[in-house]
């Protein structure tokens, strides 16, 4: 019985060459069930999420187009497309519908029979004769830059504020939180309207308005995270070893709380883009001849009865930006704090 297996086959007898001893570092690593680093796990979870990947692709595509889109034709964002026709009269390409001559010829078999026969305008031109393809991507670039810069600064402010408030606790926390409570109770529009009296219209107004409002959400999240982590042993160990408060807050705790803050950033960027679009639409944001998504929508709205197609590209870009960032935010939130059932 001892020499034979259950179904009659010979039992396995280990031979000298079958196994080998592990030496050195290999002993410590389990290759079959290798441990994942935290961020690697987050990345795997994130890229499994179809919605999150869709969002990422949308945002990357829009970013690439906003960098390279304006270079794809020879028109600048403020250039009025005009030239002299065969009768030597100056023709301005005002209010031209989207057209690609090759595609038109392919489907109808004939060429356009006007002055702009061989010109390509993917999105058409506006009422002054500026190419909308260039302007749309240039506007997207401006909107994205404003959103990224302001939200980044907001992140720095809010994160520091929240971390400091949570770390020190006590009276410091009380005072700082009362301030946040009051700041949070002022509607954003009231801040904007008061700012509009003090400041000239333009990009500065948009940036300051966003800086004054968006840090509050970040600070709340940073504080909550700090309260969660500050009682952990590594903080105590660090303090026992004599680390300064600044070192503990920014070098020890910050890296462990950055996840939720990044998620919040992803949700704040669309808010920034939305606010910028709103302010520019109303007319206190980006000034001409610069353009942003908001001013483009405003232009489109002003000409909607005569050039109805003009409003579509900026609206679609705005919607896609909102969609993309919200998807990424959702995906990140789930990837950073996976529920048990998802694992």
């Amino acid at each position: 019985m001892s020499e034979q297996g259950r179904n009659g086959a010979a039992a396995y007898v280990p031979q000298p060459g079958d196994f080998e001893f592990l030496t050195g570092r290999d002993i410590a690593t389990d290759k079959n069930f290798s441990s994942l680093s935290y961020w690697k796990g987050v990345a795997i979870h994130f890229f499994k999420d179809k919605k999150a990947v869709t969002g990422l692709v949308i945002i990357l595509a829009i970013m690439l187009l906003s960098i390279f889109g304006p270079m794809m034709n020879s028109y600048g964002y403020r250039d009025i497309v005009s030239f002299r026709n065969e009768n030597n009269r100056k023709v301005v390409a005002k209010g031209i519908a989207p057209r690609i001559p090759a595609v038109h010829e392919l489907f109808t078999g004939e060429k356009y029979d006007d002055d702009f026969a061989d010109l390509t305008f993917f999105f058409g031109t506006d009422d002054l004769g500026r190419d909308l393809w260039t302007r749309t991507w240039y506007g997207a670039r401006v909107s994205l830059i404003i959103a990224f810069v302001t939200i980044f600064i907001d992140m720095l402010i809010g994160m520091s504020y929240g971390l400091i408030s949570g770390y020190f606790g006590g009276l410091t926390d009380q005072v700082m939180q009362r301030f946040v409570e009051i700041a949070n109770s002022v509607p954003r529009l009231v801040i904007v309207s008061v700012l509009a009296i003090f400041m000239p219209k333009g990009m500065g107004l948009v940036i300051v308005a966003l800086l004054l409002t968006e840090w509050i959400g970040m600070s709340k999240i940073a504080r909550a995270e700090m309260l969660k982590t500050k009682e952990q042993e590594y903080v105590l160990a660090s303090r026992t070893l004599g680390a300064r408060n600044g070192h503990i807050i920014f070098s020890q705790i910050l890296p462990n709380t950055i996840g939720p803050i990044i998620t919040q950033v992803m949700f704040s960027i669309p808010i920034a883009i939305f606010t910028e679009a709103f302010l520019s639409f109303v007319g206190v944001g980006i000034a001409l001849p610069q353009c942003s998504v908001g001013t483009l929508i405003e232009d489109g709205f002003n000409n909607i009865t005569t050039l109805p197609y003009q409003i579509l590209p900026p609206i679609i870009v705005l919607a896609l930006l909102m969609l993309g960032f919200n998807f990424i935010g959702d995906g990140l939130r789930e990837a950073l704090a996976p529920k048990l059932e998802d694992m």
Binding site: E181, I182, S185, V186, P187, R188, L189, V190, V192, S193, V194, A196, I197, F198, K201, F274, A277, F278, L279, F281, V282, G283, V284, I297, F301, I304, T305, P308, I311, I315, L318, A319, L320, M322, L323, N326
Partner: protein, 316 residues
Amino acid sequence: MTKYVLKRIGTALLTLLIITFLLFLLVRIMPGNPFPSERMSADMIANKRAEMGLDDPIPVQFFNYLRKLLLEGDFGNGTSLYYGVPINSVLATCMSNSFRIGGMAILIGTALGLLLGITAALNRGKFLDGFCTVLSIIGVCVPSYVFLIFLQYYFSFRIPFFPYFFDAKRFLFSSVIPSLSLSLFTLSTIARFTRNEMVEVMDSDYVHLAEAKGLHGGSLVRRHVLRNALIPIVTVLAPLIVDLLTGALVVEKIYGINGIGKLMVDAITGEGIDYNYVLALGILYSALYIGIMLLVDILYGVLDPRIRVQGKAGDA
């Protein structure tokens, strides 16, 4: 509970007072001369300043302003817009317009959103569910004024059925387009939330228990699922109402509605509006915002006893 409510109301009032003071301070230290006319002599200006109380210390001015505001509901007079007309009579008209349209939008949005969310949750994974998801994504991603522009273009311009601009004489008819476009954001958010909450509740143990005991259909959904799914929806509704107040700005401006949103846009763009209006609007908006937040906090405590207990524990 009473203690909790009183404490919340106290904090809210104090916050509002501080905000009012800050706004007042900002408006008073604003650069500029209230009497730019060169024909006025120095004496006349001095008299006028004394008459309007502009030489008093700012705390005294603030106290007077507050006393007038609280006792007589008087925001002072406008000087540039609607020249000489008391601000509160202008505000009253504007608020009634805004609130009626906003209220309609909330009603439409909540009713349709609940309906859509419940239907989607009951038909999970089917066509309606997907439809609900797509609709809620669109509603969240596209600003309400864009919907308004489209509705206005198609149903007032191409097919001239609805009026192109708001007409106070035909209030109900001409507020269809603005309230519809405002309601879409509410609708989509409520629908998505209701769906997610209901799906979560339907997977919970007590619903399985109720099913195992033989309960099904309408009574199960009404009595067990909806009641618990609706609580979190109340909390989303509050920011939505606030958003509606703020989101209505451009809608009112575009559709020519004489509302507080339009006044606010005028204040932001600085078109024919003066500091008194900015101050009045700032106080009004802050009061609305704080009031709604307070209401939701209290309502939430009433709906979900657990929060009340936590609130008490927090008090101690």
